[in-house]
Symmetry: C2
Subunit: 363 residues, 2 copies
Amino acid sequence: MPTIKDIARLAGVSVTTVSRALNGYSDVSEATRQKIKKIAEELNYTPNSIARGLVMKKTNTVGLVVSEIIKPGVYHPFFLEVLSGIKAALHRSGYDIILFTVDPESQGKTSYERLCKERKVDGTIVQGLKLSDPYIEQIKSTDIPTVLIDIPILTERVGYVSSDNVKGAFDAVNYLVQLGHRKIGLINGHKDAAVSIERLEGYRKALEHYGIPYDERYVAYGDYTQQSGAEAFKKLLREVPQITAVFCASDLMAVGALKAAGEMGKKVPDEISIVGFDDIELSTLITPNLTTIRQEKYRIGYKAAELLLSIIRGEKPRHAVIPHRLVVRQSTRLYLQDTRRAGHCTDAAVQQNPGERSNESAS
Amino acid sequence: MPTIKDIARLAGVSVTTVSRALNGYSDVSEATRQKIKKIAEELNYTPNSIARGLVMKKTNTVGLVVSEIIKPGVYHPFFLEVLSGIKAALHRSGYDIILFTVDPESQGKTSYERLCKERKVDGTIVQGLKLSDPYIEQIKSTDIPTVLIDIPILTERVGYVSSDNVKGAFDAVNYLVQLGHRKIGLINGHKDAAVSIERLEGYRKALEHYGIPYDERYVAYGDYTQQSGAEAFKKLLREVPQITAVFCASDLMAVGALKAAGEMGKKVPDEISIVGFDDIELSTLITPNLTTIRQEKYRIGYKAAELLLSIIRGEKPRHAVIPHRLVVRQSTRLYLQDTRRAGHCTDAAVQQNPGERSNESAS
DNA sequence: ATCACTTCCCAAAACGTTTTGGATCCAATT
DNA sequence: AATTGGATCCAAAACGTTTTGGGAAGTGAT
C-alpha cells in the first residue's frame, strides 16, 4: 500500500509538502500540487485514516450503541428507520458508524467510557436503553459527546431527541374520548423505559382533562413485543371487561392486542377500539389497519445525528423534539352510549376515510 | 487520557514492559505485572486501539456494506436478523462492525478497495448488492477478505453464504404441485439480483420435473417490495386469470399479493394459493398466515461472520449454504380438478395444522 | 545594498502502541 | 573460574499521518 512517503519520494518533495498539497493548504505551488495529485492518483493512494486519527485525535467515527434491539427474536422495526436517518445525516459529514451492541451483561464488564474511548469514537448515539441499565448513570456524568434517543438526559455534553410522548399519548386518548369512549385501557411498555413513563403520564392527563377517574386496573404492562401485547390485552379484558377502547404504547403490542381480540371473538373496531404508537409499516398491513400515533423515525435519527455533530463541534447540547401525529385508520370507531345502537352505527367522517388524515402536533 | 507511558513512569519501568505485562507476555515477573496492572486500574487506563491498529496493521474491525437496504422507504426486514447473527459471531472474537452504506451513486465515487482500505477494515461482509452494481466486478478481483450474502462469487479471498435458492424455490413449487396445482404463477424479484435468477431456475425445474410446460406469461417481476408484489399479482391475474397458485420470491411481495387479492375479491387460499420466501415475522401476523420457505437469517449472518474470520486468518474461502425449510401455514390449500368441489373441500392434514410442520432441507 | 514581504518548501516532533534485538543479573553447570 | 541459560527488563525503531517552526529564494521598495 502506497503511503505519503512513496509519493514524496516520487515527487521529489518532502512528506510535509505532500500532506499539505493533498489537504488543500495554500502554501504549496499549484505546479507541485498537480504533480503530487497525479502521482497519488497513479499509485492509487488511499490515506490511512488510522494514522490520521492517531495524530489528529479525531476519528470521524461515531458509535451507535443499541441495547437488545439487535438480538435473536426481538427485531424492533423502529431501529432500522432511525438508523437510516442517522446514516444519512452522518454520511454527509464524512462520518462513519461503528456499531456497539450491549446487553445488560456486557454493560457490567465494559463501562460506557471504556467502550467509547477504546475505539476512540468522536461521539455516540444511544438507543434502546432502559432506565435501569447501568450505562444510564454513567452517561449522566460522561464527557463524551452523546445523544440519546427517547431518554431524557441533558448535561454539558449529552443531549437527546424524542417525540413528545406525553402529548402523543394525550392525543391518542383524547381522540378516543372524542369518539365517545370513557372506559379506556392502557397497554404500556416496561416501567423502566422512559417512554413508558411519559406515555402513562399523557394517558392520565387526557383522562384528567375530561374528568375521567384514573383506575390502575385499566393499565397492563408489556415489553413492547407483540406477544406481551396479546397477553396484556387478555389480562385487561379479564379484569375490566367493560373497557371499550385501549391505547397501546407501541404498534407491535397493538398488533398483539388485535390478534388476541380476534382469538377472543372481540371485534375491532366494532366492539373495541385500539390505537397504537409508532406507526410502523406493519400497521398498514394488518386487518384492520391500525389507528396510531405516528413517530417520524427517520427524522428522529437524522436529528440525533445532527445534534451529535453539533455537540462534537462544541455547541451546547439540547433536547430536540420531533413532531408526531395521529393517523386515523380502521381500528377505532365511535362509541355510542345507547347500547341498542352501539356496534352498529359508524361515523362516516371517521370510518370512511382511513387515509392519513392527521393532526400535525408539533411541540 | 492516561497512556502506557504514564503507567511506565509511575511503575518505574519501560513502556515495553508495560505493554508486555498488559498483553500477557511471559517475560515479565509476576510482581511487576501486578504492580502495572494495579496502576493501570487506578488510572482507569484504556488502550488506544487506533495506535495499536497503526502498528499492528490490524483493526479488529469488519466493514458491513449494505446497499439500499437502509434507506427511507425500503426497510428490508431481512437485514436486521442477518445483522444480528453477524454481530453475535463477531462479538465473540472481539471484532466490531463499521457500517458502510452504498448507493449506486456512491459506488461510482469511491471504489470498493478504497472504501475498505481507507478505514482499514480487516474484512468485509457485503449484503444487498445487485449483480449490476459496480462493486460486483471490483469484488471479483479484490484481495480484501470478503464474504457476500446471496451473491455467488468465489475467489482466493472472497467467499459467500446463501440459502439454496434453487432448491428452496423448487420445494415451494413442488409443494404447490403436490397440492394439485398445475397453473402456478411466479412473482420474482428484479432480474439483476442473483437470488431472483436462482429462484426462477428452481421454479422452472419443479415445473419440468412434473412435466408442466413453462410459460413466461406466468412470471411477473417486482422489486421485493410489498407494492411491487401487489402490482405483479394484478398483472398476473389480468393476463393469466386461470392461475390457481403463485409462488413469490419474497414474503414482502407475497404480502402485497395477498393484499391485492383481497382488493380483487380473490379469496386466499380458497380461490388462489400463495407461498412466499424468507419467513419474515410479518408472515405470521397477517391473515391468512403465509405459507413460505423459511430462511435462517440469523444463521446466515452468523455463518457469514465466521467464514469471514476464517478468511482473515488465511483459510480458503468457501460457499456456505444454510438450510431452508418449507413452513406450511394458511395461505395454501388443496386444489381439486373437479370444479364442483374446488374451493369447498379442505385437506385436514394440511389446513388444520398451521404450525411449523416443516421439511428440513439441508444441502 | 538593504529591508521587508511573499511564496514555497522542509526537518523533526508528535500521536500511542508493538516489536526487535539485545543487555543485565543470577544461579546452575562444567 | 568460566560458561551456559533462564528470567527480567529496556532503548529504539516502526506504523503513516499532521503540525510546528522555521529556512531559502525571489520580488519590490527604500
